[in-house]
C-alpha cells in the first residue's frame, strides 16, 4: 500500500487539544503503512494547510481514523492542486539556528519594549516555548495552550528563516528545537496585524486604478520615506477624506490599499463609536486613537472611520451638545497626533456637505478624494472582475451590459452578477443539465429586476415603459430633431467632441395636447439608456416653504450623480410660470429661479460636484504638455455627458423668457398635429391588430383633419367597440363602425388653436434656427 491509499481510507477528525502537544494519532494499519517508528514527525498535508505532528497510535487502536493537532501549521499548502489529505514522513534534524517572528498582543508589545536586553530575553522565552517542537520554514506555532507563552503574552511564533548550514543533516525537511538551538527574534508583531494579513484575500477592485495609485502614493510615501520628508521639512499628511455615493467602493478601496501597503487597518463605523452614556462616545474615540497610535509604533497603520458625518455633523444643523463634544474631541485627537507618526486617518462619507467644516481644513483631513459613480469603461472593468469566476456563455456581451447599466455602482454590478448566476442556477436545477453557463438572457432578467441603489429613495424616478421609435407613427421630422437633440449628444459624444459642439442643455417640446410629446420623450429615453427622472407639478408642490426648491435641487443632484441623465418636466407651464411684474413672489417663481440656476447658474455647489477627479481644468496660460493635450479629447467627451432637461408644454407662451433662451431650453421643437400622411401612419399603427374589412384608411385619414394622435387612438378603439356592440361574435371592424365613431368623437383641435401655435413658432423661429445651424453634423 502507498501513502495515497492511506488518505482514501482515512476518516479525518480534527484534534484541538488542550495540551498543545504536537501529536497525531493514527490506527495501527496506517502506522504500518507509513513504516516509521512511533514518536517520529510526519507532515499532514491538507488542501489548505500543512501540519507537523509526531506520530502516535490512537487510543482505541481503530484503523482508518486520524486525530491531529493543529499546533504547528503552515497556511500555504505544499501542493495546491492536491485536494486530498496526505501523510508524509519527514526527515528531521536538530537545528542550530532559526529566525522567528514573535506574535503577541498590542499591549504586550508595549510591555516588551520596556525590557532591557529585549531580544535576548524574548529569544530565551521562545526557546523554552518551542522546546522539543518540530518546525520548518514558514510554519506558525500556535502557543495558545502553552502556559509559559500565555504568561509572557506570546500567542504565536512564526518561523521565518532557517539559515542554510544550520541543520545538522543537509537533507532535513524539518528540525527539532533543543536547548542548544540559537533563536534570533527578527520582529515582534501584533496579533491583530498578523491575523489581518493571514486572513486577507487579495480581492481586486475594478475601475479605480488611477485613484488607487494616488491614494497609495499618499499613504506609502510618508511611511517609507520618512527621512526625505524630514529633510524637506514638510509635514506628513494627517488624513484623507473619501467622498462619493454609497456603494461605489470607498470601504473596499481602503481595505485593498491597506493590503497593498502592508499596513494595519483599524476600520470603524461612525455609529459604532457612539455610546448611550454621556462621555462614553468621546472615551471610545480616545481609546480608538490610542489603539491606533500603539499599532502605528509597529508599522504603518490606517485608521479608517466610515460614515464620519455621523460623528461630526455641521453644528448649525444638529445643535446637539453631544455631537459638538464628539466633534471637538475628534478635532483634538487629529491635532494631537505625534509629528513623526506612522498613522494615517482615512474618513469616508457620502454626505460631505453635512460634515463639520473645521474637520476639512489642512492639518486634519488634508486631502479630499472623490470616488465617482463608475463610468462606462469603469463599469466594464468591474463587470470583468465580477464575472471572472462565473462560467459565462459565449453570447454574453459585457460591453453592452456596461452600456445599459448607467447609474449602477460597484455594489449594484456585483449584485447584478450574483442575481444572474442565481437565475442560471435555478435553470440548471430544473433542467438537470451538465454544462452550466450563464447566458446574456440571465443578465438581462437580472438587470430588469435590479434597481440601482442610486435610484432608491429619490423623487422623480419613474418606471419607464419602453417605447421604440417605430411605435410612434408619423412625425418623421420631429423624431429626427429629437434624436439630434437627445440621442446624438449621448450616443455620439465623440462626434460632438470632434466638431467642438457643446451639447444642448435643454429641449422644449410644445404643441397641441395629445400629439405624443410625452411618448416622444419616452422613446428618446429608451433609445439612449440614460437615467430618466421625471418631475411633475403635483410632486413638486408641498405646503412647506422651501421644500419644492429643495426637491428640484435634489433631483438635479441625483441626475448629476448618475450621468448621463434626462430630466423630464412634463407640463412645464404648470411647474414654472412667467415671472410677474407686480412683485408678488410665489412658490412658482422660486422654483423657476432654482431651475434656472440648476440649469445654467454660476456653478453648482462644490460638495455636490461629482467630477473633481475626472475633469482637470486647464487654466488660461498654463503650460500643456503633450499628454495633457491628448487627454483633452477624452476629457471633452466626459464633459459632454451632462444633464439634459426635456420639457413639454402645450402653452409655450406662458413660459418665462429666461427659460427659453439659448443655454437653457435651447432647442425648441414644435410637435405639430399630424398631417394627412402622419394620420395614415398612426391609423395603420393602431389598426395593426384589428381585423378590418373594407376600411379605406386613406379616406379615413383625409376625413380626420384636426384629429390628434390621441384622438385617432380613441377613434380606433371606439370603432372596435362599435363593432362589438353590433354583434358580440363578430370578427371584423367595418367602415360603418368608423363612421359612427367619427360622429361621436370630434377633433380636439381647432384651426384657431393651431394658428396660435404657429404664431408662437414664428416668434421663436429665429432663435432655434441659429442653433440648428450650428448643430449640423
Amino acid at each position: 500500500m502507498t501513502e495515497a491509499s492511506i488518505s482514501s481510507k482515512l476518516e479525518m477528525l480534527v484534534h484541538d487539544d488542550s495540551t498543545g502537544a504536537q501529536r497525531c494519532y493514527l490506527g495501527p494499519r496506517e502506522i504500518t503503512i507509513l513504516n516509521v517508528p512511533l514518536g517520529s514527525f510526519i507532515c499532514v498535508v491538507t488542501p489548505t494547510k500543512d501540519y507537523i505532528c509526531s506520530l502516535w497510535p490512537s487510543k482505541v487502536r481503530n484503523d482508518g481514523s486520524m486525530i491531529y493537532s493543529k499546533t504547528v501549521c503552515r497556511i500555504k499548502a505544499l501542493d495546491n492542486t492536491d485536494s486530498k489529505y496526505r501523510l508524509k514522513p519527514l526527515h528531521v534534524s536538530e537545528g542550530k539556528c532559526i529566525h522567528i517572528d514573535v506574535v503577541c498582543n498590542l499591549s504586550d508589545i508595549a510591555r516588551f519594549r520596556k525590557y532591557e536586553n529585549l531580544n535576548k530575553k524574548i529569544s530565551r522565552i521562545c526557546s523554552n516555548c518551542l522546546y522539543k517542537m518540530c518546525v520548518a520554514e514558514n510554519f506558525v506555532v500556535d502557543l495558545r495552550h502553552c502556559n509559559l507563552a500565555s504568561l509572557c503574552g506570546i500567542s504565536k511564533i512564526l518561523i521565518t528563516k532557517i539559515p542554510s548550514g544550520s541543520l545538522v543533516k543537509v537533507d532535513a525537511e524539518a528540525f527539532i528545537i533543543s536547548s542548544h538551538t540559537e533563536i534570533v527574534v527578527d520582529n515582534i508583531r501584533s496579533n491583530e496585524k498578523f491575523n489581518q494579513v493571514s486572513k486577507s484575500t487579495r480581492k481586486l477592485i475594478g475601475g479605480l486604478d488611477d485613484l488607487m495609485q494616488t491614494l497609495e502614493d499618499l499613504i506609502k510615501l510618508p511611511f517609507h520615506h520618512q527621512k526625505q520628508f524630514k529633510q524637506l521639512g514638510t509635514s506628513l499628511p494627517h488624513g484623507i477624506l473619501l467622498r462619493g455615493p454609497p456603494g461605489c467602493g470607498k470601504t473596499s478601496l481602503v481595505r485593498h490599499i491597506a493590503n497593498n501597503c502592508d499596513a494595519y487597518l483599524i476600520a470603524v463605523n461612525g455609529p459604532e463609536v457612539i455610546g448611550p452614556h454621556p462621555g462614553e462616545s468621546e472615551d471610545n474615540l480616545r481609546k480608538l486613537f490610542q489603539h491606533a497610535i500603539l499599532a502605528a509604533e509597529e508599522g504603518p497603520c490606517i485608521l479608517f472611520i466610515d460614515e464620519i458625518d455621523v460623528l461630526c455633523p455641521k453644528q448649525a444643523k444638529s445643535g446637539g451638545l453631544e455631537e459638538s463634544r464628539l466633534t471637538s474631541q475628534l478635532l483634538t485627537l487629529l491635532d494631537d497626533l505625534p509629528a513623526d507618526h506612522r498613522l494615517i486617518v482615512i474618513a469616508a462619507t457620502n454626505r460631505p456637505s453635512a460634515l463639520h467644516p473645521s474637520l476639512r481644513r489642512p492639518g486634519r483631513l488634508d486631502r479630499e478624494i472623490m470616488i465617482n459613480v463608475p463610468s462606462m469603461a469603469q463599469r466594464r472593468e468591474i463587470l470583468d472582475l465580477h464575472t471572472q469566476v462565473l462560467p459565462l456563455a459565449e453570447d454574453v456581451d459585457l460591453d453592452w451590459l456596461a452600456e445599459i447599466t448607467n447609474g449602477y455602482v460597484g455594489a449594484d454590478l456585483a449584485a447584478l452578477c450574483h442575481e444572474a448566476a442565481y437565475l442560471a442556477l435555478g435553470r440548471f436545477i430544473v433542467k438537470q443539465s451538465e454544462r452550466q453557463h450563464i447566458h446574456q438572457e440571465d443578465f438581462l432578467t437580472a438587470f430588469r429586476k435590479h434597481r440601482p441603489s442610486l435610484q432608491k429613495g429619490v423623487e422623480g424616478i419613474v418606471d419607464l415603459k419602453p417605447v421604440l421609435w417605430e411605435q410612434i407613427g408619423g412625425l418623421e421630422d420631429v423624431k429626427q430633431k429629437i434624436k439630434q437633440a437627445v440621442e446624438w449628444p449621448l450616443r455620439h459624444s465623440e462626434a460632438f467632441a470632434r466638431m467642438g459642439l457643446p451639447c444642448p442643455r435643454g429641449v422644449l417640446l410644445y404643441g397641441p395636447p395629445g400629439c405624443s410629446k410625452t411618448t416622444l420623450v419616452r422613446a428618446a429615453a429608451t433609445a439612449c439608456h440614460a437615467t430618466f427622472l421625471s418631475l411633475s407639478g403635483a410632486q413638486l408642490y408641498s405646503p412647506f416653504v422651501g421644500s419644492s426648491e429643495k426637491m428640484v435641487a435634489e433631483v438635479f443632484q441625483r441626475a448629476r450623480m448618475a450621468l448621463p441623465s434626462i430630466i423630464f418636466l412634463d407640463e412645464i407651464d404648470s411647474i414654472v410660470g412667467k415671472r410677474s411684474e407686480g412683485g408678488h413672489r410665489g412658490v412658482q417663481e422660486r422654483v423657476l429661479s432654482t431651475l434656472l440656476n440648476e440649469m445654467d447658474g454660476v456653478g453648482i455647489k462644490l460638495d455636490d460636484k461629482m467630477d473633481s477627479q475626472h475633469s482637470r481644468r486647464i487654466l488660461e496660460g498654463s503650460i500643456q504638455d503633450v499628454e495633457q493635450h491628448n487627454s483633452k479629447v477624452t476629457t471633452l467627451r466626459r464633459n459632454n455627458l451632462d444633464i439634459l432637461v426635456v420639457a413639454a408644454t402645450n402653452r409655450p407662451e406662458l413660459l418665462d423668457e429666461a427659460l427659453t433662451r439659448p443655454g437653457r431650453l435651447d432647442r425648441i421643437i414644435y410637435v405639430p398635429p399630424p398631417d394627412r400622411q402622419a394620420r395614415l401612419d398612426i391609423l395603420r399603427l393602431f389598426t395593426q391588430k384589428m381585423p378590418l374589412e373594407g376600411v379605406d384608411l386613406m379616406l379615413l385619414s383625409s376625413q380626420t383633419e384636426f384629429y390628434t394622435g390621441a384622438d385617432l387612438e380613441n377613434l380606433c378603439r371606439e370603432a372596435a367597440l362599435n363593432a362589438l356592440t353590433r354583434d358580440m361574435e363578430t370578427t371584423k371592424v367595418t367602415y360603418a363602425d368608423f363612421v359612427k365613431a367619427l360622429y361621436y368623437n370630434r377633433a380636439s383641435l381647432t384651426p384657431e388653436s393651431i394658428e396660435k401655435y404657429s404664431r408662437y413658432k414664428s416668434s421663436t423661429f429665429d432663435v432655434s434656427f441659429k442653433i440648428k445651424e450650428r448643430k449640423v453634423l
Partner: protein, 226 residues
C-alpha cells in the same frame, strides 16, 4: 496512590504479572527495562517536586508580605510627618531591611527551584533515553508488540507518550515559575501580583497527570525486568 480502574482487584501478585511480562524478544525487554527505570525516576522526581513546592510555600508567603511592606513603605510620605523628624533616614533603612529579608526569602525559593530544575533535567534525560532505546530497537520489535497492553502492563507506545507528556508539562511548569521569579521585583507591582496569583497555577494539574500515569504503571513498576 490510586489504582487504575481497568485493573481487576484480584489481578495482583507475581503470577499475574509474570504472564504480562511474557516478553517475546530481547529488544523488547531492553525497551521495557529502560521505561521501567524512567518511570521509577519519574516517581522519585514527583516526590521531590512535591516537597520542593511545599517548601516554597512559606518563603513565598513571606515574599508576598514583604512586598506589601516594601510598597507601603515606599509609598508612605513620612518625611512630612513631625514624629519621624529625628530619624531622617528611617525610610531608607527600613527599605534596606526589607530588601535584605526579601533577598533571603528569594534565595530560599531559589534553592527549591534548583531542586525543581534537577527534576526537570532528570525527567528530560530519561525521556530521551527511553525514546532512544525504543528508536534503536524499533526495527526489531513488531508493531503489535509495541501496542500490546494488558490490564497490568501498559503498551510501550503509551508509556513513551506519557513520558513525553510528563517531560513537557514539567518543563513548562518549571520555566513558568522561573519566568515569574525573573519578572519579580518589589518595585514592580505587576510582577508581584503575577507571582502571587500565577505561582501555583497548573501545579495541581501537573501532579494529577503524573500521578495518573504512575498509577497506570504501578504494577509494571513493581515488576523486576531482567
Amino acid at each position: 496512590m490510586v489504582k487504575p480502574s481497568a485493573v481487576p482487584d484480584n489481578a495482583s501478585g507475581p503470577n499475574f504479572c509474570q504472564l504480562v511480562m511474557d516478553i517475546s524478544t530481547n529488544e523488547e525487554t531492553k525497551v521495557r527495562s529502560q521505561l521501567h527505570k524512567s518511570f521509577k525516576a519519574v516517581k522519585n522526581c514527583l516526590s521531590t517536586w512535591k516537597e520542593a513546592l511545599a517548601a516554597c510555600q512559606q518563603p513565598l508567603y513571606q515574599v508576598e508580605n514583604l512586598c506589601e511592606q516594601h510598597q507601603c513603605c515606599s509609598d508612605a510620605n513620612i518625611e512630612q510627618s513631625g514624629i519621624i523628624k529625628p530619624f531622617p533616614d528611617i525610610k531608607m533603612r527600613l527599605l534596606h531591611k526589607i530588601d535584605v529579608e526579601l533577598e533571603e526569602q528569594l534565595s530560599r525559593i531559589n534553592v527549591e527551584m534548583k531542586k525543581l530544575d534537577n527534576c526537570c533535567e532528570r525527567i528530560g534525560k530519561h525521556c530521551h533515553y527511553s525514546m532512544k532505546s525504543y528508536q534503536e530497537n524499533s526495527p526489531y520489535i513488531p508493531l503489535d508488540k509495541v501496542l500490546e497492553q494488558t490490564p497490568t502492563c501498559p503498551a510501550i507506545s503509551d508509556m513513551l507518550e506519557w513520558l513525553q507528556q510528563i517531560e513537557r508539562l514539567v518543563f513548562q511548569q518549571y520555566h513558568c515559575k522561573k519566568y515569574l521569579l525573573e519578572m519579580f521585583s518589589p518595585k514592580n507591582k505587576d510582577g508581584t501580583e503575577n507571582l502571587k496569583n500565577t505561582w501555583s497555577l497548573g501545579d495541581q494539574e501537573l501532579i494529577n497527570t503524573v500521578e495518573e500515569y504512575l498509577s497506570y504503571t504501578s504494577f509494571f513498576l513493581e515488576e523486576k525486568i531482567t
